[in-house]
């Protein structure tokens, strides 16, 4: 891991609060004490190298009126690749993780409207012949905004 001290400052201090004004970098220059061009090129490099997955606004799917859920399946090892392809083929499936458990496939479904979540689940069940456990959040306690490096 090759991170410069300025990279760490950017990661630690810019996970939120990017200024909403005509000249945001100028404002940041003063708070981070790093020249604007340098901040820009560091973010660009960290994005290219994968240290940052994105830069910009993070939207809240449900508040935009969309549907969002976490779903899980028990997939037989012999069918794992085939089922992965089927599940991933849905554009509504945003993230998909293999996890070490009998429920070994966990994915997030994000749709334009809440009703579509059930449609996607039914289609996945039909195409794979495997039950999908639908685990939408009932309550959010905390979303930690800050991750320190």
């Amino acid at each position: 891991m090759e991170l410069h001290e300025h990279d760490r400052i950017i990661i630690n201090q810019l996970q939120g609060g990017f200024p909403l004004c005509a000249d945001p970098w100028h404002e940041l220059e003063n708070t981070l004490n790093i020249p604007a061009e340098e901040i820009i090129s560091r973010i660009e490099r960290m994005k290219t190298e994968g240290y940052l997955s994105r830069f910009g606004p993070m939207y809240h799917a449900e508040k935009m009126g969309g549907g969002l859920t976490l779903a899980a399946m028990k997939v037989d090892k012999s069918r794992y690749d085939e089922v992965t392809d089927i599940v991933n083929s849905f554009s509504e499936v945003a993230h998909n993780y293999e996890r070490e458990h009998e429920l070994n496939m966990w994915f997030v479904i994000a749709t334009e409207s809440p009703e579509q979540v059930q449609q996607v689940i039914s289609e996945i069940e039909k195409k794979t012949d495997i039950r999908v456990y639908n685990m939408p959040k009932k309550q959010e306690f905390f979303l930690n905004l800050k991750f320190e490096v």
């Binding site: 994968g50 993230h95 070490e100 966990w106 959040k137 009932k138 930690n144 490096v149």
Partner: protein, 164 residues
């Protein structure tokens, strides 16, 4: 879901701004100007829309999103807990405020096979570190920990941004 009742109605201009920014802001000297130009709006309008959506909670935050895995946090454990329903609010807040928990949610149980109603995502540099952190959660919950498991991720099968 408690948060859905406050759904704010997006109009066409909001949607334009969202489609132009949901993959990210351009890394240019004047990112909002460039977004404005791209969608044919005034920069003041773009900034006002983004500000309003931030105030409404539609935008959670604006900035850099670190990739835990690449930054050395190779182990990602989804810890799942069976806690009493009538105490879940207080317990969820306690667990969620731990600095090493990135997300904390109540989710439905599937009895009898899946008794877990509280999910807390824990990141660490190794499985051992995640195990240690989960132990701390267990100590915090004490008698209210009626069973838990850690589901480590072994592979990322798909990862994309959310689309609307």
């Amino acid at each position: 879901m408690s948060q859905q009742k406050e759904t704010y109605k997006l109009d066409d201009i909001d949607r334009k701004v969202i489609s132009a920014t949901q993959a990210g802001l351009p890394l240019t000297l004047h990112p909002y100007h460039d977004v404005a130009e791209q969608i044919g709006l005034k920069v003041e309008e773009v900034i006002a829309r983004l500000q309003n959506m931030t105030d409404q909670g539609i935008i959670r935050r604006t900035g850099v999103v670190p990739n835990h895995y690449k930054l050395g946090f190779k182990s990602n454990g989804m810890s799942v807990w069976n806690v009493p329903d009538d105490k879940i609010k207080a317990l969820g807040k306690k667990v969620g405020s731990l600095e090493f928990v990135s997300h904390c949610y109540q989710r439905p149980r599937f009895l009898p096979e899946w008794p877990y109603n509280l999910f807390a995502m824990v990141h660490g540099t190794s499985h051992e570190e995640v195990n240690e952190k989960v132990k701390k959660i267990s100590e915090l919950l004490a008698a209210d920990d009626e069973g838990h498991q850690i589901l480590f991720s072994s592979r990322i099968l798909k990862k994309t941004g959310l689309r609307i």
